[in-house]
Each structure stands twice: as C-alpha cells, then as structure tokens.
Point group: none
Chain length 81, copies 4
DNA sequence: GTGGTCTAGACCACC
DNA sequence: GTGGTCTAGACCACT
C-alpha cells in the first residue's frame, strides 16, 4: 500500500479523503461493502474514533450508507436530482 | 409487496411490526399458521436471526404460539378467560 | 454440473460417493469447508434427510468433521496410524 | 497455552469452564479484571458471540461482574454477607 | 478500547 | 420441513 498520512490535516480527514479516492477509483465499487472498521483500523494503523469519524464524513457526503450488523456500503453520488 | 425496511429501527423490530400489522389486518388469520421462518426469510430478504427475533417479539406479546416442527400460529389477544 | 443419480443404490449413498469423489479430486480440499447442507440440497435437488445421511457416511469414514454453527470440514484420510 | 476445544459440548460452554478454572486457580485473581473480550477472542480463536456467551455464564454464576467500557472483574463467591 | 446490540448463516432435534 | 441452537462478525454507545 502506498498511502501515507502527512501534513497538518486531521488524520480522520485524510483517511476520509483516501477512502473517497478509493470509491472514485472503483477500488470500493458502488453497491459493495467497504472494509469493516476493524479492517480499516488494521490497514491504516488508526484508532476506532478516527475510523468512525472518517466514515461519518463519507456518510455526510452521501457516498455510503451504513447498516448495523451488516456493514457500510457505497452508493451512487446523486441518483436522482 | 409494498413493505420496505427503513430508518434506524432494527430490522427485526420493523419485521415484527409488519407481521403484527398483517395479523391485525387478518392477512394471517387467528388460528392459522403464519409463514414459516424460511418463507419469511425469503419474502423479506433477511437472515434467520432477524426472523426469529421478530417472531419472538410476537410471542412475547402473546399474539402467536409456536409448536416445534409444526409452525407458529396466531392466537386471539385474550386467549381464554 | 454433470452428476446424475441413477441405479438402485439409495440416493444418500450415491450422494456420499459423489461428495467423496470431489474430496479425492481436490474439489473440496483438505482443511476446507464442504458446501453447506442448504447448498448441497440446492445443487443436487435432494431433501435434508438425504443430505445429512450422505454427510454422516463421510463422517463415519473419517473424511470430514463437523463443527456446529461453523460447517463441515475435510480432514486428512488417516493422519497418524 | 495447553487448552484445546474438544467433544460435543458447545464452544462457549467449554470456554466458560476454562475461564472459571483460571479463576479458581487464581490466574484471574479476585478483584482483578479478566482479559477483555478481544483478548479472549484472540487467545482462544473464537468469535465475539462465543466469547460473550461464555462470560455471560460466569456472570450468571455470580463469579464476575462487568462494567461497560471498563471490563469484567472477578468477585468472591459470596460477595458480602 | 471497553462491553452492547444486531445481523447472517451454519448444523441439530424433532414432528 | 419445522423450529432450536450455536458461531462469526458487523456497527454502536460509552468510559
């Protein structure tokens, strides 16, 4: 993996950016699940709070929806507007 | 079928509500069997645990009784008094 | 799939033979899970009793071990003897 | 560690037995915290549900009390009398 | 970073 | 072929 944290931006924001980049790139395809919180934590070496804050940003942007007990899924940017 | 899961309420609770609605509406008549857990799973697209949790709620409310190997039956609100 | 039931041998015995063939052929590798009862039922179009009887034969032959809630796994023929 | 799961007893029951054995042996001393659920999962290689079911048994037996966000603690067999 | 809740799906006992 | 039990693992609330 080539991603590295850097600069003054908060970790959770950098992480959110990286996750969104992967969504745009199709690494996490629309309709599919993104890695679980535990997997994200392991891959990026971050804590749970950071992970959740990053995912929360994507949720706020409408890029993912989260289903308790099942996972967080990528959705289309703005289906009908 | 017009039912859809939505909102933050757990799936099993929404499913229990829907099943109860059908009992009140007579879709599942008193004295009759409600669909098997396998049929509920298929119709609503949920897992076994969710199905059982929903039926368990109706059991707790005294709206159904379940007989191992035979099925789950609708009973009257105040059975015998 | 090319498998077909035929002849006077009981279904569950034919099914056990086919499953064992697949184990020998490495279709179900040692240490891996064989298909679930539901998957076997669907693929071969048989009932649960037939499925369970077939798997029970493999268990008796020591070709698989079954772990409740997790699945049935292929084990080595006779590790130490 | 020498502990191994074996036999037909459910994993969670075997795990509860092992944990209780360690409490009796003083490995987990009275008044101290037992390993977190994550640590138990890692050591015994089981899932979250199995871990929680095992600890729940000890809770039911009154051998431990659990404090949300802090951990699970060993208490004396007859706490205060 | 802990325990809490919820979901999916495996095999089992019984009718 | 029904409901019963057990296991794994997801996200959540809180310390």
């Amino acid at each position: 993996m080539t991603f590295e944290f850097s600069g003054p931006e908060p970790l959770y924001a950098q992480l959110a950016d990286e996750l969104q980049r992967r969504i745009e790139a199709g690494v996490y395809p629309v309709g599919q699940r993104i890695p679980s919180e535990a997997e994200i934590r392991e891959e990026f070496g971050v804590g749970r709070t950071t992970t959740r804050a990053a995912v929360e940003i994507l949720r706020g942007k409408g890029r993912v929806v989260t289903a308790k007990g099942r996972g967080t899924y990528v959705i289309a940017p703005s289906p009908a507007e």
